[in-house]
């Protein structure tokens, strides 16, 4: 087990290096640079490139970047002058994570419950209702859901704040908007997975040998059915705690989500790299956790030995 984790950590470093390199190349393929702007003369442009050492050959910039990265230095943003990327992530991440985890918890609990209910009453009315409920919410894009929610609950009824991130009350609308977009996926995945397991021989066996239905459900069905959910949990969590552009933009939430879009538009190279690396570290870490969780949930999977 320890050897396995150690090896995965080595892989993780290689993976990160690869991601950093790929992003670096891609981002320099995009025309323009952080300074290009309507009123910039070529002369000042050259001076700015020189000032920020961007007149050097790309491979040199790349090596410098990797060197800094290895020392944990993500550099300064080139759009929000005078601010470090590390600061921007430090300030934005807790907010995004707060919103994300809240929405994830809600979406998961609701989605898994609906999924289980649907599967246990396969093709009965609870199934139809659950599936329909799950679908209704995601059948319109979340910017429409968010906007309508703002209007109805904020402007019309005056129950909740339209936007801003101040108190738990302010988190309600964005959390709901985000959670409903998770709900459907979780419901369907869980429903399918439970149905899959219910058809397995060991479930029939368990029933046949007279195990209490509750125990069959808990010990055999759910434990096996949760596997596909565990698979998607890593990326899902990483994706959602690092911020979602639409919800954060719509609700004026100072999270990380907007940087993924803005940094590209602004050609804010250090911010593009910083957010990517941060996301990747998180994701690689979570994926490792997921794979470890696999061995716990399903003892038949022996990860450590598979490769030997």
């Amino acid at each position: 087990m320890l050897r396995y984790v150690a090896r995965r950590l080595v892989y993780a470093v290689v993976t990160l290096w690869f991601i950093a390199t790929l992003t670096f190349v891609l981002m320099h393929l995009v025309p323009g640079d952080p300074f290009s702007s309507e009123k910039l003369t070529p002369q000042i442009h050259q001076l700015m490139l020189k000032k920020y050492h961007m007149d050097r050959p790309l491979w040199q910039q790349y090596l410098t970047y990797l060197g800094n990265l290895a020392r944990g230095d993500l550099g300064y943003s080139m759009r929000q002058m005078n601010r470090t990327v590390a600061d921007m992530i430090r300030e934005g991440f807790p907010v995004s994570a707060h919103l994300g985890l809240q929405a994830l918890a809600l979406g998961l609990v609701a989605g898994l419950t609906l999924g289980i209910v649907a599967a246990l009453h396969h093709n009965g009315w609870p199934d139809y209702v659950a599936v329909f409920l799950a679908l209704v919410f995601i059948s319109v894009p979340n910017f429409v859901v968010g906007s309508v929610a703002q209007y109805v609950f904020g402007v019309r009824l005056g129950w909740l704040p339209v936007a801003r991130w101040e108190s738990p009350i302010h988190t309600i609308l964005p959390t709901l908007t985000l959670a409903v977009s998770l709900l459907a996926g979780q419901t369907r995945l869980m429903r399918t997975s439970v149905l899959e397991v219910l058809g397995q021989d060991y479930i029939r066996t368990a029933h046949a040998k007279g195990l209490a239905p509750g125990e069959v459900l808990w010990r055999h069905t759910l434990r096996n059915a949760i596997l596909p959910i565990v698979t998607v949990m890593g990326p899902l969590t990483a994706g959602i705690v690092t911020g979602t552009f639409v919800v954060e933009t719509m609700f004026g939430i100072p999270g990380l989500g907007k940087y993924y879009v803005q940094s590209v538009y602004n050609r804010d190279y250090p911010l593009i790299m910083g957010t990517t690396v941060f996301y990747s570290v998180l994701l690689v870490g979570l994926n490792l956790l997921v794979d470890l969780a696999y061995t716990l949930v399903d003892p038949r999977i022996r990860l450590g030995k598979a490769a030997d």
């Binding site: 995009v30 399918t192 596997l227 998607v232 994706g239 639409v246 590209v264 690689v284 598979a306 490769a307």
Partner: protein, 314 residues
């Protein structure tokens, strides 16, 4: 495994000892039900699932309208009329007109066509690359799995949003760049999912049994692994198509979606949700069609899952 040893050499029994078997004998061993092929069997079960059939019908209707709809009116999807902007539905414009006086009915079905195209192309890329990649990695395990999944990890490690935006900005927004961007990162999800399933199935008793009996790996994959993962794969595909359609709507939100005069359901919804309060029809029709597509794919997916599940064979 070298040459298989036959218990008796073929020429051990003299030919004259053979005589034709009576037909009665053969019937005695016949199966009471006529043999039903795998697909015919699945179709049989699919037909009985009313929701699934409804989903299929809805998709067929939307698909038909996406092809024929734009030709049912005297208008062109890009034809503007600055004097007839934002009109409510009427006999002349069945679904009304939009902010440039374009006929919404015509644009709607044209947009559905573009959206479906995006969804189906993105899903195809997912399906082909993702299933092959995940299946091979999961089944063979070991070094193969390690190498293949490291590559997936790298691709998965880059924020989806960021890479899609980077790609679309590099290539320039348009139908193809959107499909390429979504496809090039989307398949890794499928690959991970399939691998997870295969890992699980590989350890099942029946696969173990098949392997012990010496069934060649490819046959195991074909006969046991794929049929058992099909459910999850199909459910994923039916999520991918509407997912890609929604992805395009998101790209519209950040200004990188399909650009006018082209239309997509996403871009139509994006450009009308702001005027919901005054021109609700402009949001309603594209949203309704988007919902229909979504519902259709979901019910179809569930039906397919049930129909193709080998354990449900009777």
């Amino acid at each position: 495994m070298a040459a298989r040893l036959s218990p008796t050499p073929p020429d051990a029994v003299p030919a004259e000892l053979f005589r034709p078997a009576s037909q009665v004998h053969e019937r005695a061993e016949a199966i009471t039900r006529p043999p039903v092929g795998r697909w015919a069997d699945a179709w049989g079960r699919f037909r009985q699932n009313r929701m699934a059939v409804a989903g299929l019908v809805v998709l067929l209707v939307v698909g038909f309208m996406a092809v024929a709809g734009p030709h049912m009116t005297p208008y062109d999807y890009r034809q503007t009329s600055l004097l007839d902007t934002d009109l409510p539905p009427s006999a002349e414009h069945w679904f009304g007109t939009d902010e440039l006086g374009r006929d919404i009915f015509t644009r709607l079905w044209y947009g559905a066509r573009i959206s479906l195209l995006i969804g189906i192309l993105a899903a195809s890329i997912d399906l082909v690359i993702g299933v092959a990649w995940g299946g091979i990695a999961g089944y063979f395990g070991g070094v193969v799995d390690d190498v293949m999944m490291r590559i997936v990890d790298v691709l998965y490690g880059i924020p989806y949003l960021l890479i899609v935006i980077l790609l679309v900005v590099v290539v320039g927004p348009g139908l193809w760049s959107i499909v390429i961007a979504m496809g090039s990162v989307g398949w890794v999800g499928m690959a991970r999912l399939v691998r997870g399933q295969v890992l699980q199935i590989k350890e099942q008793e029946y696969v173990l049994a098949a392997r012990a009996l010496g069934v060649p790996p490819l046959k195991i994959v074909w006969r046991h692994v794929i049929p058992n993962t099909l459910g999850v794969i199909l459910v994923n595909v039916t999520l991918t198509v509407p997912g890609a359609i929604f992805g395009e709507a998101f790209l519209s939100f950040i200004g990188l979606g399909v650009q006018d005069p082209l239309a997509s359901l996403g871009s139509m919804i994006y450009s009308s949700y702001q005027v919901l309060r005054v021109y609700p029809h402009e949001l309603f029709f594209p949203s309704a069609v988007l919902s229909l597509i979504l519902l259709g794919f979901n019910f179809l997916g569930d039906g397919l899952r049930d129909a193709l599940d080998p354990r449900e064979r009777r």
